[in-house]
Amino acid sequence: MVANSDVNIAVTRGHVHAIVGENGAGKSTLMKILYGMQRPDEGSIAVNGKTVTFSSPSDAIEAGVGMVHQHFMLADNLTVLENIVLGSEPRKGGLLHHAEARRRIEEIGASYGLDVEPDQLVEELGVGDRQRIEIIKVLYRGAKILILDEPTAVLVPQEVDELFDNLRELKAEGLTVIFISHKLDEVLRVADEITVIRRGSTVATVDPAETNARALAELMVGSELPSPETRESTVTDQAMLTVSDLTLRTSDGRALLEDVGFTIHKGEVLGIAGVEGNGQGELVEAIMGMRRAEVGEVRLGDEDISGWPTRRRREAGVAYIPEDRHRHGLLLEAPLWENRILGHQTQEPNVSGPWIDRKGARKDTQRIVEQYDVRTPSIDVFASALSGGNQQKLIVGREMSGTPVVLIAAHPTRGVDVGAQAAIWDHIRTARREGLAVLLISADLDELIGLSDTIKVILRGRFVADVDPSHVTPEELGSAMTGAGASA
């Protein structure tokens, strides 16, 4: 139904069609074209055999093409119902016709198995629910073809399962789903057909039953895959980061972290495995000093740093690759060289005394751009102008600068393409050989198993198991993460 000139894709009605490719391979651009947010220079799009031109998203919606964005576009302080009808409200006497809106939402919910509570405020909802609302929003506007841009990036595994159930339901009702992702195992689970894009053009369209994740990844990259395997052990007996009895509660007393403790030695990588939202974020924030733990101690080498503010910890050599680079890692509307300074505002070569050393910071930014292969025309462009993977490379380069002693890395290769991923792994491995202690949190189980010397499994704020990465498979680790399998 949909075609494009340098990219050729044919999507069959009632199928889930996945599009996979590296960062910057052109997935997002393709989606923007399909949704009328960007005009194609050449080529055509046909829906149900009829050629169409979309000059804006509303044209696309008219033709029955709807898009669910990666970042949700919902108003927190409105109810589910209000969010869904926003912009195309059924009216009665100039006012919102609540009963009619509710009827239609319930109808959609019933026919596609999408359960939502129309009167709940969106701010009270979790990510999975929000995504369902986004899908209903699109269906409410009469879409027959749904484009989902990286829908699983923000979901925990259970929510992914629910989403996939929903997608199957949609498919059964004759809707078509275009599913963009770079999580290959998920794509293999849900798609009826998979198209691989590389450097802006389609490489292959494959049947998921006849391929596997590795073969797909090789199609994406166009070459043999690197692996995160770490060969020799470099663990020493010198404790670098020691956390003991760490406990953190919400204001209503629910435990976010309970009695968490571990030691990372010089040259050791400690991996934390767990379903997202089980306390990893809080653990990182407590170690970085962004959040105060009520009980417990954090030691850096021999020193108790529990009372230190974040800046002092960073000055002492604790590097930090945050989970959410937009919120915690970058100033999006600032040039790259200013982003080099961020987090290292008191350190060489960024400052001399109370002054910012522009020359030093710029020179070092240039070094990072070269060493970490950050694709940018200059260090004066805003960080927002770079692709996600390149932003991540800049952050990794920055945090590895100035010989850190401890690295807190939350999803260091998230959103990064396969080539850059291998480079980041190399950098971490090299630094580890030179004595860096790393706390690695990752949802990528292969990465976790490949890089870590020890793995601890976290569940509901507690460590429930220790795993030896040399004798564990991703499947075993996955079941330990959900509380099944391995002993607590």
């Binding site: 930090y320 910012i356 393409d417």
Partner: protein
């Protein structure tokens, strides 16, 4: 930044205020037309103001005062703090400065210094209340500074009754006149003008330079701007945001303390009921107009002062209404805010496109587009 000198970038930066002024000109003309007022004559009268030496002096003097006010607001803006309270802060500061200044006797430069510092400290502390309330109790600085304005008004009225002496030849009351050692002489910068320029204009220029250096060249300034751009990223980078809020409010308040100084030390020599009020709000408009940039604010202050002064002849002439100037000022601010936002978005998307293009042109483009997920 090297790229600041890029001519295209300069053009884009200038586009917004120019668009806003043209737009304001059109709207104002339409208002004149609808009200059946003389359009051409009104504009020639307004434009004529710029050619009279006396008016030019008045414009520069008003602009000096506005400059401090806008700078005070801008310090807050750079950190996403809305200091609506510059108005109360400067009035309380200048009042205290006038009282202290008339009570002590000191040799010339010291006397002036004492008055200026008193005013700055009082204004800073008044602003600091809002900062402390924000970091300890989570009170929005918008609300607290508005309230503090009202309290300052009452407080000054009450205290003025205690210390006031009648102003000769009127039923106005004010603080005692400052002696000669606390006065700053005017500068005869504009030839043929009977009005002298405030000597305090030198301090305004220094304050502008200080602001620029502080924000873009120091660690403190970096922390401040980082907090304004993204509080979460600033926290992760080790900025103590609470401390920054208090310091910024103090700094903003201290600058507000300078607002009343040119008039007090160069013209009025006393704080009376007739002392100019409302300058803090003008400062908000000018800070927006000047995009918190020290040069931009200077241009904005001059423009604002120009329009203010051009209201005078309109008031005198029959058949004209000077309120048209206020309408114009209002439209400029509104349209400039919209125009800046448009330009900002344009620049971000331009830059993304530019990066994508530049990368496509590179020899080995593994990532040909800058838009990957």
């Amino acid at each position: 930044m090297n790229s600041r000198l890029d001519p295209r970038r300069i053009l884009v930066t200038l586009a917004a205020p120019l668009m806003a002024i043209v737009f304001a000109f059109i709207i104002t003309s339409l208002v004149l037309f609808a009200a059946d007022d003389p359009i051409v004559d009104t504009w020639t009268t307004i434009l004529d103001v710029g050619s009279q030496p006396r008016s030019i002096s008045l414009i520069v003097n008003s602009a000096t005062v506005f400059y401090f006010s806008a700078l005070a607001v801008a310090i807050g803006f750079r950190m996403n703090l809305f200091n609506i309270g510059v108005d109360g802060q400067y009035r309380l500061g200048v009042f205290t400065g006038a009282v202290v200044g008339s009570a002590v006797s000191l040799p010339k430069p010291l006397h002036i210094l004492v008055i200026v510092l008193t005013s700055m400290i009082v204004s800073a502390l008044w602003a600091g209340i809002a900062g402390i309330l924000k970091v300890t109790r989570g009170v929005s600085e918008v609300i607290s500074t508005i309230m503090l304005n009202a309290i300052a008004t009452g407080l000054i009225a009450y205290l003025l009754r205690k210390v006031a002496v009648p102003v000769a030849g009127s039923n106005n009351i004010g603080t005692e006149l400052l002696p000669g050692s606390a006065r700053i002489g005017g500068l005869g910068l504009i030839p043929d003008s009977p009005v002298k320029i405030y000597g305090f204009i030198v301090v305004a220029a220094l304050a502008g330079i200080g602001y620029s250096v502080l924000l873009s060249r120091t660690r403190f300034g970096f922390d401040l701007r980082a907090t304004g751009r993204s509080e979460s990223a600033a926290v992760a980078s080790g900025v103590n945001v609470k401390r920054m809020i208090v310091i910024s409010m103090l700094l903003s308040g201290a600058t507000a303390g300078l607002v009343g100084m040119p008039v007090l030390l160069g013209e009025a020599y006393s704080y009376s009921l007739a002392f100019p009020a409302g300058l803090g709000f003008t400062g908000i408009a000018i800070a927006l107009l000047g995009r918190n940039h020290p040069v931009g604010i200077a241009i904005g202050a001059l423009l604002w002062a120009y329009l203010d002064v051009s209201g005078n002849p309109l008031q005198i002439l029959v058949g004209f209404s000077s309120e048209i100037v206020t309408i114009m000022q209002g439209v400029i601010v509104l349209s400039v805010v919209v125009a800046y936002e448009l330009v900002r978005r344009f620049r971000i998307s331009q830059e993304q496109r530019r990066v994508a293009r530049a990368l496509e042109a590179q020899p080995a483009p593994r990532e040909p587009q800058g838009v990957g997920a």
